[in-house]
Symmetry: C2
Subunit: 328 residues, 2 copies
Amino acid sequence: MVTIKHIAEMAGVSRTTVSRVLNNSGYVSEDARKRVEMVIKETGYVPSEQAKSLRTKKTKVIGVILPTIQTETPSRIVTGVGKELAENGYQIILANTNLDKDKELEYLDVLRLRQVDGIILIATNTEPKLMEKIKGMNIPIVIVGQEADDLMYVTYDDYHAARDLTTFFIEKGHTNIAFIGVDEADHSVGYLRKKGYLDAMKSSELAVESNWVETGIFDIESGYEAMKNILTKTTSIPTATIAVTDRLAIGAISYLKEKGIRIPEQMALAGFGASELAKYLDPPLTTVDYQNEKAGEEAAKQLLAKINAKKYQKQIILDYRLIIRKSV
Amino acid sequence: MVTIKHIAEMAGVSRTTVSRVLNNSGYVSEDARKRVEMVIKETGYVPSEQAKSLRTKKTKVIGVILPTIQTETPSRIVTGVGKELAENGYQIILANTNLDKDKELEYLDVLRLRQVDGIILIATNTEPKLMEKIKGMNIPIVIVGQEADDLMYVTYDDYHAARDLTTFFIEKGHTNIAFIGVDEADHSVGYLRKKGYLDAMKSSELAVESNWVETGIFDIESGYEAMKNILTKTTSIPTATIAVTDRLAIGAISYLKEKGIRIPEQMALAGFGASELAKYLDPPLTTVDYQNEKAGEEAAKQLLAKINAKKYQKQIILDYRLIIRKSV
DNA sequence: CCATGACGTGGAATCGATTCCCTAAAACAA
DNA sequence: TTGTTTTAGGGAATCGATTCCACGTCATGG
């Protein structure tokens, strides 16, 4: 393996000078620079990242912690992060928790000891233990998808998205609107989207029957179950349902079809997330488009700014867009 | 930051001894070991990975090159890889080409200079330039999803899967079977699956009209276009269609629905990949289940075996399973 | 003509580990 | 008692970079 020492010898200069050429810092004569560059080209020499980062304490690696790589939201975020980082010569170390909350904490440590320059956490919760840990780390960390008082984050306006969507249904004349949510520990998806729904109902003075509100987990199956509960347990049957993810909506559709209930005539339906498939469902699903990839890019951008001691925005809330399709 | 030097001083031993405790190598008295361990616990010291890898030339990092993270197949593979690696204390550096072939080559270099211990390439082609480059690198590399003569790989039995699926249609009585493929540069998905289809047709002495065979790219839209072409350009209309991915099949379905063509009565349909959504389409889509996650695990397992100079299997071809659903 | 500063360069320390080699005491064998 | 092994531990080199500091050489201005 060719090292800086070899280059120095071959070019007849000291390692110092080679280093100067590499980082173009300090004084180097045109002559010496030429020779060094020649030799570098000939040998195809590339400086060792390990050695460099041992000295400089910078690895040009960013850790990304995510709950799963198998659903669209995190995948898109990572894609965005990756694009932004690649442009700046940074690499991603991936830490997949596979939905295991404890691993979020664990991976923070693993990444620290890998001396990553920063961490992007695609968060599923804002538990105090996690927040405390983040505050205690002296590595720049950006949270994506959740608000977190005085930490850096990039998230979406979940509350207003849910509120707008609900209002949209109300304006269409629906009064009985059901809701399929998830655990409120997920502040964005669980709590805020539900609050948006409830507040919209309240401000239109519409009552919400307790059985209209179901809680699932993040998979299709639980959307199916939730819709089943809604239709079998409620006294006044809703005419519209909001599901907090497209996958839950897909589960709901699957139940509705099984029972021969027509969408949207008998049950209007909407999801969140603008999954690619939503467009191709029958009927195409109304959904909320968050700019996930943009969120990833933005998170990476602010993180790099912070790392390089430039001006950065600490907290960003991205916009959303309702995509109205035939399911309503 | 606490280093081995501090630990040595605090425990009243040399760095050598601390290192011995850390790696439990060489002779260390019970007494010294206790003291060192105490200090390590007190200080929460963790050895620097950079320093270690500078010396040992091992980083415990594996590079994963993939075409996109936004479709199910690579996501599942990465999940499998991640699980296996995590169990062995390895980390993943992610290199996302975003479907840009040139970046595959580029990232091989980037990863090498990051001194990754090995590379897993989720491949979309087997172009000579790429294969040559891989042979020329002196880092262990496993290819996933493509065969590559004398390199390490884990792939699927694409040929027989396609052949079986086609035969299944034939046995159901179909004689006019269309095919939506992709560019044959993708040897597995493009070439082998098509060959399986053609050979099955031939061995049943069924003719294949040239217009029955369409080529798309990997997105839903091109499935739509392909189905449109098949139905508008052919003289004898097919009664069944095989699409080489579920997404292509979804596009095809979308066209069929638009035209009011009933599935499977007027057109039977099948895809490949066992995407989660396939199950919830209307009608549920017949598809081929490859064990993507297993493939990832297997690739990681063999790679680690090779890295650690243990016995490994150079080439693995995984099994598949037809999932017959109502679309046929 | 000499002080000053810009320019060029190299020596050597440093980052934080591992590891080779050496010394020395203790344990054991002859 | 002497000679070998085993056990224990330290010194110092090393990995491949960066960077501080010192030291020349010129040109310039006072």
